[in-house]
Structure formats: C-alpha cells, structure tokens
C-alpha cells in the first residue's frame, strides 16, 4: 500500500554508523550556553543546542504566590516550561497544554532533589523556561538552561543538573536525538543527572528498548550528561571571566 500522503521516512543511519546530520552515535549536537543574558531576572541563561533555542529565567527566593502553596518548612519550586507559538513548523497553539504541564512537573521535581529548599522556608523559587525554537530534546535543553539560571541566581544547590536524551535510531542506541530521529526512531529517553552523586533525577521513555539496550542507553546518557556538565561549568566560569582564578587543586595544599 502507498504512503498515503505521509512524508517519506528518512534514512536515519548509514552503513558507516553516521546519523542523518552526519554525527556518530555518541556525538552531541553543537551547544552554546550564555549565563546571565537577562538583567531583570535574579538569574538567567540562554542555551542553543542544535536547532533548539531555550531561555530560562529564575526569580527568588521570593514571596509565594498564590499564598496557599506556601510551605512552612521549605521553599517551593515553581517551574513553567512553555513553548513559543513560533517554536515549531506548524504554529503551536499558545499556552499551557498537557505536555508542557507534564514537563514543568518533571523539571520541578528534578530541581527539588538538588536545591536546598529548607534554607528558605515560606518562599518560592520560580523558574521560567521559554522554548523559542524546538528541535527535539527541549526539556533537556530547558533543564540545562534552568540549572545555569539557578546557579546564576545564587540559589544554593547540591550540584548542577545536566541533562541529555538518548534513544534508539535505526536499531542502534544514539545520543542526543534530533527531530527526525525522535519522530521516526524507535525510542527516546530524556535523562537528567546529578553528576557529583551520580543520581538520575529525571528519566522518561517513549518507545521500546530491550533490557540490554536500556542499560547501554543509560550508560551513554550518563556519559553525555557529564559532557554537558563540563560545558555548563565552563559557561558559568565564562560569565565571570575568571581565567586568572587558581584551580581548586592548588588551594588544597
């Protein structure tokens, strides 16, 4: 039977193991991160990751609105992930939908596990993630941007959260899927890692993998997160241009 008007499914993997954009299976898309582009927010970051463009802003700790959400023993984290109407090919209907609510929730929970919320009882830490352009992996890019923005805002946390998606493309496990791979691949699994403790604070999966593939994917994702983590640290250092500061090892003496 014919293709019934559907676009042709692109060939996702060449015989040499190259992907649709020429990357190897364990290769990330190009990333650039800028810390502190917004002056009104307490902290902010802009991340370009492949064709994703994501801005994150952090406010707080500040008074809780609405007040009934206030917790007496700790701060609450309120995160809003939002995609711009112009972020995708077809205009996205603006506003919160079920998908963005879900993503907001899982990102909030990822940060609740690292931010020291007990230090700021009865307050709110508000995170706004705006996806300006989307090309698969926006929740990971959003998480990375939000994590940088939290650090930029000086909010105490155990570690930065690094995030990347892994998936199964053309029968192989691949790092950091782009849109075509996400749409036509066999599986997509966003991960978020706290590198210092090695804990995963976000794991979701769509599609199918065998147990062995899952294990391979987790390994590859962890490796990818650590690579992202190093980029994040460099982005934070770049903001303060601290090339002259002594590395920690020297001071340990």
């Amino acid at each position: 039977m014919g293709n019934v008007g559907a676009k042709e499914i692109p060939r996702l993997l060449t015989a040499e193991g190259r992907r649709i954009d020429g990357r190897r299976l364990d290769e990330l898309r190009p990333i650039s991160m800028k810390v502190g582009p917004l002056t009104r927010a307490d902290g902010s970051a802009f991340v370009e990751w492949g064709d994703n463009k994501v801005m994150a802003a952090v406010y707080g700790p500040r008074e809780v609105h609405p007040r009934h959400l206030m917790q007496t023993q700790k701060a609450i984290i309120q995160c809003r992930y939002n995609m711009a109407a112009f972020s995708v090919d077809e205009r996205k209907r603006p506003g919160q939908d079920r998908r963005s609510q879900e993503i907001s929730k899982v990102i909030t929970e990822a940060f609740e596990s690292v931010v020291f919320t007990e230090e700021f009882p009865k307050t709110s830490i508000d995170i706004y993630i705006e996806v300006l352009q989307a090309n698969a992996g926006t929740r990971c890019a959003g998480l990375v941007a939000a994590s940088l923005a939290l650090a930029d805002a000086g909010i105490p946390m155990a570690d930065l959260v690094a995030s990347v998606a892994v998936g199964k493309v053309g029968g192989r496990i691949a790092l950091d899927l782009k849109k075509e791979e996400d749409n036509f691949g066999e599986a997509d699994m966003p991960l978020a890692l706290v590198p210092q403790s090695g804990r995963l604070v976000l794991t979701q999966m769509e599609g199918h993998m065998t147990r062995d593939e899952l294990r391979e994917a987790l390994d590859l994702g962890t490796k990818g997160c650590r690579e992202i983590y190093e980029r994040m640290r460099q982005a934070l250092r770049d903001k303060y241009d601290v090339t002259s500061a002594a590395p920690l090892q020297e001071a340990a003496a």
């Binding site: 009882p121 000086g154 105490p156 155990a158 570690d159």
Partner: protein, 296 residues
C-alpha cells in the same frame, strides 16, 4: 590591615579584611572544597567528612568556617544591618516591607516613632513609601523583624532609589567610607546606603545620574583594585553637576522610581589622573547624617 602595602594602595576598598595571602579560588555548585578542618559555613554543605560548595563564588578559609563569598543571590539579612525597604502592605498593626530579601519584613508600630491606633497606619506610611530601617531580629522560621528606631532611621522622602548587587555594597562604601564620601562629595548628593543593595540618593537630577553611572562602574569592575581613585578620577573628569544633568535631563520628578537603567554603559576606562576640575560642587554639610551611620 594594610601592612606591606605602600600608600598607593591606601584606597583599596577591602573593608576590614586582611590582605589576601592566597589566590582566589573559584567554586561552582557541587565542587568539593578542601575544608582544612574548618566547619562548613555559608554556601557550603557537608556529606560525611567532605565539604562541597552549594553556590558559585570564591572560597575563604577563616576560623572557624570555610565559606563561599557568593557572586549572586538575594540579600541575606544580618542583625543591625541598615536597609532600605519599600512599603508593600499596610496591616492593622504593622507594615510589610519589600527589602529585596527572600521574604517581606514586617515593621511593627512598636518599631516606629508613631503611635497610630488600629487602622490608622496609613496616615504615616502608605504603599510605595520608602523607609530606612534596621534589621532587629531574625527567627528560625526566616521571619525578618525590622525597626525604625535608631539614629537616622525613618521615612525617606524625595530622592531616588538606585540598586546594586548587595555583594557590592562594601565597595560602594569603601574602606572607612572612602568611596561613598568621594561619591557624595563630587556629585553634590546625599545618600543612604542600605545593605540590601538599595541606595537612596537625593540631589540634582544630574548628580543622581552621575551616582547611577558610578554604581554601574562599581558593579561591573568592583573587584579590581584602586577603584576609589578611579571613581574619583571619573567624577572629576566628567565635571561638576549642572542643573539639568549631563545625561538624563528629563528626570526631575523621579521620586523613588525603581532604578531606571540607562542603556549605554558609562565609559569604563579613565585616565590615570582625573581632570581635577575646581568647579566641584560641595554640599553644605559634606559629612552630614547622609552617610555616617551606614558606613560600617
């Protein structure tokens, strides 16, 4: 203090700190810090016997704490800090002040010079008014009690409020008040510096604009030495304040507007020596109550 430094370094605005004997060590959240047997202090946390950073900043090891001097973060109140608050709400027996900390701070009538009956509080302060208050007590729940009783505390009328990162306030004040004295002296303004990063300024529109410019410079290069001298040079070079103000003429009724930042940053490089203009306006009381109590 100051030992080993020649007179050239007299104006280094290091506050009361001893000269640094070791290079600055930058840490990011999650970095392990060698604690050298000290207790974990601000910006750190402990896992077993190891100490990690929880915020970005420079590490200091000073008995009894290893702590981080953060690059960013909201104002963290300390008892006796003098701060600038803005009335956000008027309740039956207290005002709620926005002090740019993580919480609003209640100012009870007992902490004011007035004795309003219940519901009469808005006769003295209304929403949007600015006040100079001192942090009185902090309780375990994070509540910040403030008082208006104390020398020079009270309602701030007229003037403008400018903001700067609270971390830069020691630079604004300078060693023994050298920086703030230079600024007020050369711009003909009166200022009240709040530890929460809000700075109340009263003077001509031009004078206020120049204070604003200076604060931008301090914010951007406050970590470099010799700042007081360079600010002095900058202010002398840009000349005395005229009535209309050099850059922002249309700002005469700027009563307590939130800081309105100019888009063009001020020039960041100045000659070694200022122009040394003799036409500097000196306020009538150059060391009046406008600065003294807030300098240390």
């Amino acid at each position: 203090m100051g030992n080993g430094h020649g007179p050239r370094h007299r104006g280094r605005d290091r506050g009361e700190r001893p000269p640094r004997s070791e290079p600055k060590v930058l840490v990011l959240p999650g970095d392990e810090i060698p604690h050298r047997g000290l207790q974990p202090g601000f910006g750190t946390y402990r896992v077993g016997k190891r100490v990690f950073a929880s915020v970005m900043g420079y590490v200091t090891w000073r008995e009894p704490f290893v702590r981080i001097v953060p690059f960013a973060g909201r104002y963290v109140p300390k008892p006796h800090d003098v701060i600038v608050g803005i009335v956000q709400d008027v309740q039956k027996t207290f005002y709620l002040l926005d002090i740019d900390a993580s919480r609003w701070a209640p100012l009870h009538t007992s902490g004011t010079p007035w004795e309003p009956g219940p519901g009469e509080l808005d006769q003295y302060l209304r929403i949007g008014d600015a006040v100079l208050v001192a942090v009185e007590n902090l309780d375990a729940t994070g509540k910040i009690g403030v008082t208006m009783k104390g020398e020079d505390l009270g309602k701030l009328t007229g003037g403008t409020i400018l903001t700067i990162s609270p971390a830069k306030i020691p630079r604004v004040i300078g060693k023994g008040g050298s920086m703030i004295h230079t600024i007020t002296h050369l711009t003909g303004t009166r200022v009240a510096v709040g530890q929460n990063g809000r700075i109340w300024v009263e003077g001509t529109p031009g004078g206020i604009q120049r204070v604003r410019d200076v604060l931008r410079i301090i914010e951007e290069e406050g970590q470099r030495p010799g700042l007081t001298e360079r600010i002095e040079g900058y202010l002398q070079m840009t000349g005395p304040t005229d009535e209309t103000g050099p850059q922002a003429p249309g700002d005469p009724s700027a009563d307590r507007t939130e800081p309105h930042r100019t888009n063009e940053p001020p020039p960041l490089s100045f000659p070694e020596q200022g122009g040394g203009s003799s036409r500097i306006q000196i306020p009538e009381q150059e060391t009046d109550e406008g600065e003294e109590p807030w300098e240390t």
